[in-house]
């Protein structure tokens, strides 16, 4: 199928808002948990609402881990979907402290955000800055607002594509986290492009042109 885009049905709620966002761009979208369909797609979107342990459990149950790890086409993880792309997450099952293994599509760990006396979840519109020129943020101004809802994040590190600041820790660097990450064909965004008005639509448009 030409120009096909598949949203991985991770078994969590709220896939429709991502689907509608691509449809508003005139893009046809298929939602699937079928390994063959996902592997053959031209582009893959890994959505995510809910918790890391629940999402990983569902992905394992659907036997999608190997399929997702072997993807070579442009793949975008959104919010929890981005967090699932790194090695592991501090977000455990309720009352447990052990790390949750994620997909390991790139190195990295998801931490609970340390924001000083600021509120969690980090909820609302915040400014995003790309660290370098890249096709996903092409044409999107530095400091454009995107919509975030999360309490966990990947710190700024070697695979950070764009940063965002939240919190009032004494050490300024501690307030910065990865708003977007990238390695090879894998891209992840912590914010919700499907709910980020024009800026979000622009980013999704860039993704379908990768």
């Amino acid at each position: 199928m030409a120009n096909s885009l598949v949203i991985v049905n991770t078994g969590c709620a709220n896939i429709s808002s991502v689907k509608f966002a691509f449809e508003r761009l005139g893009s046809s979208v298929e939602v699937s948990d079928d390994v063959t369909i996902i592997s053959k797609a031209q582009r893959v979107l890994l959505p995510g609402v809910g918790s890391a342990p629940a999402a990983m459990k569902s992905i394992r149950k659907k036997q999608l881990v190997d399929c997702l790890r072997s993807l070579t086409q442009p793949t975008l993880g959104v919010c929890l979907g981005m967090q699932l792309m790194v090695n592991d997450s501090q977000e455990g099952e309720f009352g447990k402290t052990e790390l949750t293994d994620c997909l390991g599509l790139m190195p990295g760990r998801v931490h609970r955000m340390q924001v000083g006396n600021q509120r969690l979840p980090h909820m609302g519109w915040n400014k995003v800055s790309s660290k370098y020129d890249n096709p996903l943020f092409k044409g999107i101004g530095d400091g454009e607002h995107f919509y975030f809802v999360h309490s966990f994040a990947v710190n700024e590190y070697e695979h950070t594509l764009a940063t965002c600041e939240y919190g009032n820790n004494a050490i300024e660097q501690e307030n910065s986290f990865s708003a977007a990450i990238h390695k090879n064909n894998f891209f992840g965004v912590q914010f919700h492009p499907e709910r980020s008005s024009d800026a979000g639509a622009h980013l999704l448009q860039n993704f379908i042109q990768l």
Binding site: A13, N14, S16, S17, F20, A21, E23, R24, V49, G50, S51, F94, Q118, R119, L120, P121, H122, M123, G124, W125, N126, K127, H145, Y147, V149, H150, S151, E165, Y166, H192, E194, R195, S196, S197, D198, G200, A201
Partner: protein, 260 residues
């Protein structure tokens, strides 16, 4: 820096947007989808849809409009009213809402907050609190079933205690409706909101009382709320959203600029 949010609230009754004064005498404002679209295009940061009759009568409410909104809107939106169970919430979220807000059912069954948190995550669980300042006792009291005047009743909860309790149960955001101020456009209840802010570690949204642009500036600066919700000033075009956001940024309040 996280921007403060401007949130138009659309009270929905029988599939149309309505607005009353102090929760009463509802008049029809217009159809949901075009109004929602208009606000999103004007630069609203988020929308809240309250199905105001749903909690107070027993009938099953048609929520198909949720999906229609999700198709055309590219900003987050929250649906409130009539969500009594985890399954009710799931249906609304599946239709494309980003958050669900519960009020009266949380008071009847506080465990519902925890169940929603555990099933869908903290980020989509908003708790609406209808709070009334009792001048005689000098206390803030939580009310239930405010969508229907004949069933509206005072609960045994005081507002600050209830705000703490809902956070313990897993609320991701709190919308405080200050009932004394609702619909009269005399300004937000800064004193009450500041008191709630002290005990609220999740995002707090002010509701009730917006009448002019300075009211928004006051509530952000003096009560440190994360968002300000308003209805009639937007529905009646008393305040223009792009103009409001521009003015607030000039006052030093972090805003997402309106659409270009």
């Amino acid at each position: 820096m996280l921007a403060r949010r401007i949130i138009p609230c659309l009270d929905v009754r029988d599939g149309v947007v309505v607005k009353g004064v102090k929760f009463r005498n509802h008049e029809i404002i217009g159809d949901i989808v075009p109004l929602a679209k208009r606000y999103a295009e004007a630069g609203a940061d988020e929308l809240v849809f309250y199905d105001i009759t749903a909690s107070s009568d027993q009938r099953v409410v048609d929520k198909s409009w949720v999906s229609k909104i999700a198709q055309v809107i590219d900003i987050p939106f929250c649906v409130a009213g009539g969500i009594k169970t985890v399954e009710d919430a799931g249906k609304i979220l599946e239709m494309g809402a980003d958050k669900i807000s519960i009020n009266s059912p949380a008071l009847s069954n506080p465990e519902l907050i925890k169940d929603l948190h555990d099933t869908y995550g903290q980020q989509c669980v908003v708790i609406g609190v209808d709070s009334f300042f009792n001048e005689e006792t000098g206390q803030y009291e939580v009310y239930q079933f405010t969508g229907d005047e004949s069933r509206t009743q005072k609960t045994t909860w005081q507002t600050l205690d209830w705000v703490k309790e809902v956070q313990r149960k897993g609320a991701g955001e709190i919308v405080l409706n200050c009932m004394n101020q609702d619909g009269v456009r005399k300004g937000y209840d800064i004193k009450q909101l500041a008191a709630v802010r002290e005990v609220c570690n999740v995002p707090l949204i002010a509701s009730g009382g917006a009448g002019e642009m300075s009211h928004f500036s006051d509530v952000f600066k003096q009560a440190d709320v994360d968002g300000a919700l308003a209805a009639s000033v937007f529905h009646k075009s008393i305040i223009d959203i792009p103009e409001l956001k521009l003015w607030l940024s000039e006052q030093g309040i972090e805003m997402r600029s309106a659409k270009k």
